[in-house]
C-alpha cells in the first residue's frame, strides 16, 4: 500500500537531518462539518516513531493541537549512509502508516 508519509533525509557527517510530512486530517473533534452541522469526530495521529537500523531515535506524541498534515523535523547522531530509517505512526482510531528509506 502506498504511504502518505514523505521524508527528506540529509546526512552531514554523522548527523541525520530528517524532515517529515504526513497526510492526516488531525481533526480536533470540535469542528463542525459545514454541510451537516454535525461535529466531525476526533481523528488524529497520536504517536509517531522513527527507528534507524531498528534502534528507536524519536518518539513524537501528538495531541489534536498538531496541525493538519503534520510536519515534523528532528536530528539524530551516529548516522551512516546505508542506514535504514523507518517512520511509522498510529492514530486514535488505530490506523497506521509507515515508510522506510535509506540514508544517503
Amino acid at each position: 500500500m502506498a504511504s502518505n508519509i514523505k521524508i527528506k533525509a540529509k546526512l552531514s557527517g554523522d548527523i541525520a537531518d530528517i524532515k517529515s510530512l504526513m497526510i492526516h486530517p488531525m481533526e480536533t473533534g470540535a469542528r463542525k462539518d459545514p454541510d451537516t452541522g454535525e461535529l466531525v469526530p476526533m481523528h488524529h495521529i497520536t504517536q509517531l516513531t522513527f527507528t534507524n537500523n531498528d534502534k528507536p531515535v524519536m518518539v513524537a506524541n501528538f495531541s489534536t493541537a498538531v496541525s493538519k498534515n503534520p510536519y515534523f523535523s528532528f536530528k539524530f547522531g551516529g548516522a551512516n549512509a546505508g542506514d535504514k530509517l523507518k517512520v511509522s505512526w498510529v492514530d486514535n482510531l488505530g490506523r497506521t502508516d509507515e515508510l522506510e528509506t535509506v540514508l544517503k
Binding site: A30, R31, V59, A65, Y71, K75, E98
Partner: protein, 150 residues
C-alpha cells in the same frame, strides 16, 4: 463449508499481521491524561511530575510574533542544555495546553520543529526536561484567526 473455512483463514491472517506490528509502536505510552487536561500546570504535573520549571536562556524557541492562521503555527525548539530527555510544547490558552511532547532518545539531538494549532493569542512555552532539571522559555504568539475549529 469451503466458504466458511476461507473466511476463518483470512481472519487468522489479519490477526497475525496485527500481532506482528513493530514493537516501537507499542513501546512508549501515549500520555493521554496529560493531553486531556485543561490547565497548563495540571498537564505539566501529570506529564513531568511538576509544573515548576527553571527559566533558561539556553533554549532557542522560534515562533512567529503574529500568526495569521492559528491552525498552522510553526514552532522550532533547540537547546544547548545537556542530557535532554524530552521537549514539550505548552500553549497556555489552548483548551488543552499540552500540544505535543517529544522523547529525545539517546544519540538524538534536542532540536525539533513542528506546526501547531492555537485557539487565540497565547504564550507558547518550550519545556525541556533534562537529567538535572526541567527548564523552559516562553514567547507570546498573537493569533488573528483562531485555529482550533468550532
Amino acid at each position: 463449508m469451503h466458504v466458511r473455512r476461507r473466511l476463518f483463514l483470512s481472519g487468522g491472517i489479519a490477526f497475525a499481521a496485527l500481532a506482528a506490528m513493530p514493537r516501537a509502536l507499542l513501546a512508549a505510552a501515549w500520555p493521554d491524561k496529560a493531553f486531556s487536561l485543561t490547565a497548563a500546570g495540571e498537564a505539566m504535573k501529570d506529564l513531568l511530575g511538576t509544573d515548576q520549571t527553571i527559566a533558561s536562556d539556553k533554549i532557542m524557541l522560534k515562533v512567529p510574533e503574529i500568526a495569521e492562521n492559528g491552525a498552522v503555527v510553526p514552532v522550532t525548539i533547540s537547546t544547548s542544555l545537556e542530557n535532554v530527555e524530552s521537549i514539550s510544547i505548552v500553549v497556555k490558552k489552548n483548551p488543552r495546553p499540552l500540544a505535543a511532547t517529544f522523547e529525545i532518545l539517546p544519540g538524538t539531538l534536542p532540536d525539533i520543529a513542528s506546526r501547531i494549532k492555537m485557539g487565540e493569542t497565547s504564550d507558547v512555552m518550550a519545556v525541556v526536561k533534562t537529567d538535572h532539571g526541567i527548564y523552559s522559555t516562553a514567547k507570546q504568539v498573537k493569533v488573528t484567526i483562531g485555529g482550533c475549529g468550532g
